[in-house]
Assembly symmetry: C2
Homo-oligomer: 404 residues x 2
Amino acid sequence: MGTAWTPRSRFELNLTRTDSDNVQSEYHSGMTDFHVDGTRLWKTLHQLAEIGATEAGGVARVALTDADRAGRDQFVEWVTELECSVHIDRMGNLFARREGTDPNRDPVVIGSHLDSQPTGGKFDGAYGVMVGLEILRVLSDHGHLTAAPIEVVSWTNEEGARFPPAMLGSGVFGGEFSLEEGLGATAQDGTILVDELTRIGYSGSDPCGDRPVGHYLEPHIEQGPILEASATSVGIVTGVQGIRWYDVSIRGVESHAGTTPMDRRSDAMASAAQLITTVDRIAKSRPDGRSTVGVITSTPSSRNTVAGTVDLTIDLRHPDAEELSRMNDEIVEFANSLNPPASVNQIWYSPPVKFDADVVDAIRDSATHSGFESADIVSGAGHDAVYINRVAPTGMLFIPCEDG
Amino acid sequence: MGTAWTPRSRFELNLTRTDSDNVQSEYHSGMTDFHVDGTRLWKTLHQLAEIGATEAGGVARVALTDADRAGRDQFVEWVTELECSVHIDRMGNLFARREGTDPNRDPVVIGSHLDSQPTGGKFDGAYGVMVGLEILRVLSDHGHLTAAPIEVVSWTNEEGARFPPAMLGSGVFGGEFSLEEGLGATAQDGTILVDELTRIGYSGSDPCGDRPVGHYLEPHIEQGPILEASATSVGIVTGVQGIRWYDVSIRGVESHAGTTPMDRRSDAMASAAQLITTVDRIAKSRPDGRSTVGVITSTPSSRNTVAGTVDLTIDLRHPDAEELSRMNDEIVEFANSLNPPASVNQIWYSPPVKFDADVVDAIRDSATHSGFESADIVSGAGHDAVYINRVAPTGMLFIPCEDG
C-alpha cells in the first residue's frame, strides 16, 4: 500500500538441489546454487507495474477489475511460456505449477497477490508473485527439476479494498471464511465478488482449500521502516502481531464553555484525551507493543461548547496474545476510571501468528548462506501467509522498501 | 440560549425615590419602596414567548426576522400604553423613554435583547427587557416620577445567530464596531443586515452611540449552574471573563498502525491528547480559569493509520487579563515542547470586563435590602453590557435558571 515504493535491495533466493526430506536441507544444503537474475526480476516488476499504472507512479489494480484481469493474464502468459500448468480455484486463486520428480511430494508454494489498493505501490504483493516467477525462470534456465513440485500463487482480493474483508482468497483457502462468505463478498456499490470473478474469467472449478501445500513461502516488501533504518537486507518474519480493534464512546454533558466551572463539567473531550495518552503509554511501555487512535469525532463540535460525546477508535497490537490481553485489561480499567467513563468495545480480534519454525530457520539460513545481513522481524500487517499458516508450514521474508 | 428555561426565582427590583446625585442612594436609600408585580412579569414573559414559540417549548425569534419584528411590535405596544416615547437608532436599537423630573439627568437605561437563537429559550435576553417594562409599569401604577429619565432598551442582534458577530447593536453603540460594519453584517445566505432592518421597519434615524446613558443595568438569567447549585436568588455580576480563541494545528507523519514502531512515529493524535489534557489542567489549576476543546478532527481519519494531522480549537477564559495571558503562555510553551509540536494561533481576544463598582454595589445593596440572598459572580458569557460598559457606568444582575 502507499505509492511508488522503491525496494532498496533485491533479495535473491537461492535454490539448492537436494533429495532430502528435511526442509532445512531442502532449501540450503547447497550442493549447487542457482542465482536468480536480479535485473530480470526488476524489469519484470516494472513491466507488470505498467498494468494499472497511475500518474503518481504507483498502480491501481483493484481486485477483479479489468486491470486485475490484465495483471492475471500477463502472469498466465509468463508462466505458460515456462510450460507450467495453470490452476484456478473457485475463489479465483491462481496457481502456476511446475512438476517435480517425486510424485509423493506436496508442492512448495511461493507467492502473494497481484491486486492492489486504489492508490497502491508497484511492489507490495506483486513482489512475492514475481519472485516466484523468477524462481520458475531460473529452474527453467538451468533445465533443473526439483524433487517437489513448485507452485507460484496469486491469492484473490488480498487488499479487500473493493470487497472487504482483506485476505479473502487465502482466508477461504485457510478456513477463516466459508466459500459462501468469500464468493458473496459485496462491494460498496452492491457488486458481488463471484459476479466480477466470473466476468473477468477467473472463476475456477477447483475446490478452494483442498489443494495440497507442502510448504508456503511469501516474499513481501516490509511496509514499515525497521529494515531500512537498520540497513538490513532481509527480514526473517517470525510471525504476525495480534490485533484488537475497538470502538470507544464517551458520553459526557454538553455545557457552555464560559459559564460552566471546570469542576462542574462532564467533559467527554477531557476523558478522551486522557484515554488516548494512556493508550499510547501502554504500547510504549512494551518493546513490541503498538497502539493507534486514528479516528476521533466530537459532538456538538462547537468551539465554545464542552463536548457532550466523543467517539474514537483504538488499534492495539502485540506479537504475544497474553501481553495483548494485558494491554486490553489496562485500557479497559483506565477507561472505567475516567469521569465521564469511556465505553470500550472490541469489534475485531486477530490472534498473533507464529510461522513454522523450520521454514523460518530455512529462510534465515538461506539468507546467511547467500551473504545477506538478516534480522528477525514480526510483521505488523496482515498477509495471506497468516491464513495459509493454518493449513501448511509457512514462512515470510521481507525486503526493505524506501518509505515502505 | 438552550431551550425552555424556567427561572427559579423572579428577582423583584426595588425602586426607591431619591433626589441624591449619588448612584448608591439613588437605588437603595429606601425612602419609599415600590415592589414589582412578579405575577405580572411572569405572565408578560410568557405572553412574549408566544411570539416565535417553538414546539420544544422555547422560542425562535432570530434577529430581523418577522418574529423579531412581531416581538418588537409587542414591546412598542406595551410601552406606548405607558406613554413612553419610542426611539430607534440606525442599528435598530430600540429605546422606550419615560421622562424624569430633572432635565439635567442622563437616563438610567435598563434592558437586554429580544432576539433569540434559532432554538432559544423563553427567558434569555427577553428577561432583561421585560424587567425594564415591569419597572415602567410599577412607576406608572404609582404615578411616580423619577428624577432621572428611565429608558428600557432592546439591543439589535445580540445573538449573532443570523448576522455574526454577536452583540452587534450594543457593539456599534459602544464603539467596538463601526456603523458600516454593523449595517453591513451579512447572513450565510448573503442577506445584509441593513436590508432586513429596513424590511421589518426598524431602521431608525437616530445616530447609534451618541445617546446619553447615565447608567446601564442589564438583568439576565444566569446561563451557568452556579446560582442554581448554591440556591442563591441573585447573582451580582462584577464583570465578564476575558476570552481567547485559538485554532490549533498539529502536523505529524501518516504511518501504518501495524508496521510503524512507537518510537518511530510522529503521531499528531498523541500530541493532541497531551495538549488537551494540559489545557484542561491549566484551567483547573486556577479557581476562575476555564478551558474547552470542543472541536477536533484528524486526517486521514483511518482506524489503522497514525494520524498525520490533527486540528482542534481552544476556548480559554479568565476574569483577569494577566492571568489569562499567563495561561496563554503556558499553553504555547507546552505546545512547542510536543513532538510533533502544536501550532497555536489565537484568532480572537475579548479582554476581561470589570463593571462599574458603584453600580455593582448598588445592585448588591438593593438585593440585600430586598431580602434576597446574593453572590458575586463573574459572567462566563458575553452580553450587551460588555460593550455598553465602555461608554457608561454599567452593571448586570443574574437570576438562576433551571438547566440554564
